[in-house]
């Protein structure tokens, strides 16, 4: 069958000259190069100028980057294991002067005697637990390298109750079927959300001591979270309330563009 539209076929095509070959290949490759470069630049502009996410439990990040952070969280959650322990050090290596960055939500002094930890079960039942009740549980010490999201780190020594021991003792096991633990300071000025596996990690503590002395106010008296599998931003000082939920609890720094998971 002859193609009726190709009237110009006059025998075999002439082979391209070398010059024609060169300019043809240059045209195709440089054309592709500039088009793809342009598209890449356009893609970058789109990402850089993409709107901020709608403020929910997370806020302050570009919407596509927040989606990426959440996807990346899922990928790295797969390698999380209770068998992966943070490296521990001998007591002698712990800093005497423990670094102090922020007091958001735990400013000033607190009346330790009057303080009670409120544990809100999902059923609505509230446990009110005194510091003495917590100190009565077996104590765990940890000397580890505390890591700040800013990039600094410091070996420090903390003492308290394993979060998992605390859960068992107060018969909160059913609550651990939920996906998240929320912690808040008594004045609700600072709050964090922790995924359940990280909270139940064997090195997560409800700490009441630093360097074998009761926590001073600036380090979160009377009780703070020490969670070595997270950056410092998740190590909430002066715990007021603990909640359990299947939804992500509010998180102070996740509302300011930081990754919700912030796991190490």
């Amino acid at each position: 069958m002859k193609n009726p539209f190709s009237k110009k076929t006059k025998g075999p095509k002439k082979p391209l000259t070398i010059e024609q070959k060169i300019s043809r290949r240059n045209f195709i490759s440089f054309g592709t190069f500039f088009i793809v470069s342009g598209a890449a630049y356009g893609g970058w502009k789109w990402l850089y100028n993409s709107p901020e996410e709608v403020a929910t439990v997370t806020a302050g990040a570009r919407a596509p980057l927040r989606r990426a952070l959440n996807k990346t969280e899922l990928a790295f959650r797969r390698v999380f294991s209770n068998n992966h322990l943070v490296k521990t050090y001998p007591k002698a290596m712990a800093a005497k002067n423990v670094r102090h960055n922020e007091d958001i939500g735990s400013e000033g002094k607190i009346d330790v005697a009057a303080w009670k930890l409120q544990v809100k079960k999902q059923s609505g039942e509230v446990l009110s637990i005194s510091l003495a009740d917590i100190k009565a549980l077996p104590k765990t010490d940890i000397v580890f390298d505390f890591k700040c999201v800013e990039g600094w780190d410091q070996i420090s020594h903390w003492g308290g109750v394993k979060f998992s021991d605390f859960i068992k003792h107060f018969k909160l096991d059913d609550q651990t079927a939920l996906q998240y633990v929320g912690l808040e300071t008594p004045n609700k000025g600072y709050y964090v959300g922790i995924d359940m596996p990280s909270a139940m990690h064997p090195q997560t503590l409800l700490a009441y001591e630093v360097n074998e002395k009761p926590l001073p106010p600036k380090h979160g008296a009377p009780l703070r979270l020490i969670i070595p599998v997270k950056y410092g931003i998740k190590n909430l000082k002066r715990i007021g309330t603990i909640t359990f939920s299947n939804q992500r609890p509010p998180d102070y720094w996740a509302e300011q563009g930081y990754d919700y998971y912030s796991g190490l």
């Binding site: 070398i18 470069s37 294991s81 490296k87 999201v149 600094w152």
Partner: protein, 237 residues
């Protein structure tokens, strides 16, 4: 007569040019992160020669107070950086292209001769195939560096889950230092790379986009028919 000589395969051209913007974004977002704890300097015998980085540098490039932004970009583009690197390495292995790239025994000695030649101290450069000895070392080193960035990056990103990588990198502090130093290395590589590309000229640069170089080949000798003398003819004395 001109001729086309194939030089860079398509896969190498793509991965090269894809890497360029990704690495730029990784370095930039890395700076946003580093600013939050910019503790490194070159200090010898108590005298600080250079502090990374001067305030003016941060101001010029608008780097301050952008930690969360830096992390968000860094932890997205790390995937692209790793993936593109993986594609490149797999390609060079499967295609056999690595033979042109990996330094040979003689490369380390020859690289000096190449350097002397490039600095116009020595007239002759050692003979080479696709890449000269210095290029073999540089282009292999940059891949090792990229792998190093990936490993040290993971070591400081997830030091608990990848504790063995952190240990392998000499601990959290040392891993962060290597991660930083490698980045400075990329900047130096880039500067020298650009100078060399400019000196090598258009034909060379074009080959990284179009894949081929134009070379001159000798025109084929015209065919001259030599008449065979008749048998009865006497040769001319």
């Amino acid at each position: 007569m001109k001729a086309i000589k194939e030089k860079h395969p398509l896969a190498m051209r793509w991965t090269h040019w894809v890497n360029f913007p990704i690495l730029t974004i990784m370095i930039w977002s890395g700076m946003l992160i580093y600013w939050a704890n910019d503790e490194y300097s070159i200090t010898l015998f108590g005298h600080t020669f250079f502090s990374f980085f001067p305030e003016g540098f941060y101001k010029t490039f608008n780097i301050t107070h952008r930690l969360s932004e830096g992390m968000a970009f860094h932890f997205l583009f790390m995937w692209a950086f790793a993936l593109n690197g993986l594609v490149y390495v797999l390609y060079t292995i499967i295609s056999g292209e690595w033979r042109e790239l990996v330094p040979q025994k003689k490369s380390f000695k020859e690289a000096w001769l190449v350097l002397l030649h490039d600095l116009h101290i020595r007239k002759m450069a050692p003979p080479q195939k696709k890449y000269n000895a210095a290029q073999r070392i540089a282009y292999t080193a940059i891949i090792v560096m990229g792998f190093g960035s990936l490993i040290t990056g993971l070591a400081i990103y997830k030091p608990v889950q990848f504790y063995y990588l952190t240990w392998l990198c000499g601990g959290y502090h040392f891993a962060r230092i290597i991660h930083f130093a490698l980045t400075i290395g990329y900047v130096f590589f880039f500067l020298i790379h650009i100078i060399q590309v400019i000196l090598a000229g258009w034909n060379n640069f074009r080959s990284v986009i179009s894949g081929f170089e134009v070379i001159n080949v000798k025109d084929p000798e015209p065919i001259i028919e030599t008449p065979t003398p008749p048998a009865d003819e006497k040769p001319i004395q």
